[in-house]
Amino acid sequence: MHMTMRVKSTARQIRQSLLVICSLFFLLPSAAMPEESIGQNGLAIIVHKDTNVDNLSMTALRNIFLANQQFWPNRSRIILLVRAPQSDERDFVLNTIYQMDEAQFRKYWIAKMFRAEVPRGPKIVFSTGMTRDLVVAIPGSISFLRADQVTDDIKLLRIDGKLPSDEGYPLK
């Protein structure tokens, strides 16, 4: 009898714990960091601080993301960092730059590796913080963030001569 009551009590505690965790997951994003859509603020293209490039045309940006261009003008290799699936930033980049869906994106890189045109696919990053940290750490790296998440330790590129705050920025 006593044993049965203890089991019921433990089960109730687990239920309540799960309820609290679920509530926290629902409440935290809205309470802690209200984020506007990428379309409003724009997607920032960021590079390692020492990269000797300030501006890219949309064509050049696409060629870099497609690995048709693999070197910066100073001959250092371009290291492309791409967010893992199921992030808004990745979806935006696939739609606007790659003009592909997930399956086409995957097949594109597999074909590229198959033809020995690239030694590997893009490096996958899992969060905004990781993107920033790795762009800071890896010379030649290029990636993307929401424009309101750019910090001073990385370099923000102009695209077609425009910054994310400018009218007509192509990645909005």
């Binding site: 926290l24 060629n63 290799r77 399956a103 995957r106 597999i110 590997r120 990781m130 750490a137």
Partner: protein, 362 residues
């Protein structure tokens, strides 16, 4: 009463957070420390299994296709090594072959120099899909670029320069190769030296204009002097052209090859080979987007005066109709009906069911 669940929840969240932090720190440290100065390896594999049913007395039943393994090693900023090995099922055994072995030094986007064994950059299919059955829409390759083709030198051994021209709106790129050319068995590359003193050379120009994203066109030329097993030396010139629109809805690939052969000792003995295929596919939309119906038409025509290939039975016509189902991100099932005619010997029908897959981490 609510205190205990809250404390339990915080402990669980804390543990999750610490675990994630540790994983992140490990990943971040690994990538940052690697920093491309250490060798990095990448593995990829392809394979397929087919069931074939056909008219006539030819073999049918189950076939294990090529099992292909790739390994790529980045040995610093500019140097890489690529290896590809295949195992192909034969009657009573598997034949293992080094398909490609390439050591490449990349000076810039415009100039990359490599040496080794390649898929000859002729046309589109030979270098775009080759052993990757999963990569190609259909179950098999067009006849003119099939494994062991005598029409196209599928592999070559030598050196290759390649590059893209950054900043041009036409997306121009080039390949220029110099190597051993064909073996005495003309279906094979000269893996252990050139069979005669005359090396093969080739150039190919490609364009992928940014304005028509998804379109690629190419034009190539190949030259060699061949010393076949059973006939005199022959001069070979191959012109290739292709256009490919690979956005899948639709997918269009059209490729044409014109090959001319001439006896070196008597230029009046000559003949041509014309071969082409046109493939159309369309990936369906929305809920049906895993499905991709396709059709391909093929034709190969060999002159009866061609001194190299006149007696090889290579005349060919085919109509192919099929559907591909991508039931998994890394695997596809294809069902294909084919009506074909070899060497004007009457048409035959066959049906092929194939499951193909890719092994990779992406």
């Amino acid at each position: 009463m609510i205190v205990r669940p809250v404390l339990t929840s915080m402990l669980l969240l804390g543990a999750t957070f610490l675990g994630a932090q540790a994983a992140y720190a490990q990943y971040s440290g690994a990538v940052a420390s690697a920093n491309l100065s250490d060798p990095q390896f990448n593995f990829m594999g392809f394979g397929d299994v087919s069931y074939l049913s056909r008219d006539g007395t030819s073999k049918d039943g189950f076939f294990v296709g090529q099992a292909v393994a790739h390994i790529t090693a980045s040995l610093g900023n500019s140097l890489s090594v690529f290896g590809e090995i295949s195992a192909t099922g034969k009657d009573s055994q598997y034949s293992v072959e080094v398909e490609r072995m390439i050591v490449k030094y990349e000076f810039s986007d415009l100039f990359k120099f490599s040496a080794g064994r390649y898929h000859t950059p002729i046309g589109y299919w030979n270098s775009a899909f080759h052993h990757g059955a999963w990569l190609q829409t259909t179950t098999t390759r067009p006849e003119m670029v099939k494994f062991g083709s005598k029409i196209v030198p599928i592999h070559f051994v030598g050196v290759l320069m390649e590059g893209t021209m950054p900043g041009n709106p036409f997306g121009l790129s080039y390949h220029a190769g110099f190597g051993n050319g064909r073996h005495a068995n003309v279906a094979r590359a000269g893996d252990a030296g050139d069979i005669n003193g005359d090396k093969a050379w080739m150039v190919q120009l490609r364009a992928a204009p940014d304005r028509y994203f998804g379109l690629e066109v190419g034009l190539g030329f190949y030259n060699d002097e061949i010393r076949p097993d059973d006939r005199p030396d022959i001069k070979e010139n191959i012109v290739s052209a292709y256009a490919a629109w690979v956005r899948e809805s639709p997918e269009v690939i059209i490729e044409y090859i014109h090959s001319s052969h001439e006896l070196l000792s008597d230029s009046s003995v000559s003949g041509d080979v014309d071969a082409w295929y046109a493939q159309f596919a369309y990936r369906l939309k929305d809920d049906l987007r895993q499905w991709k119906p396709y059709v391909r038409l093929e034709k190969t025509d060999v002159d009866s005066t061609d001194p190299l290939l006149f007696d090889q039975g290579l005349d060919y016509e085919a109509s192919v109709l099929g559907v591909r189902w991508d039931f998994n991100p890394y695997a596809a099932l294809k069902a294909e009906y084919r009506n074909e005619e070899f060497d004007n010997a009457g048409r035959e029908n066959n049906f092929r069911l194939q499951v193909s897959f890719v092994l990779t981490k992406l």
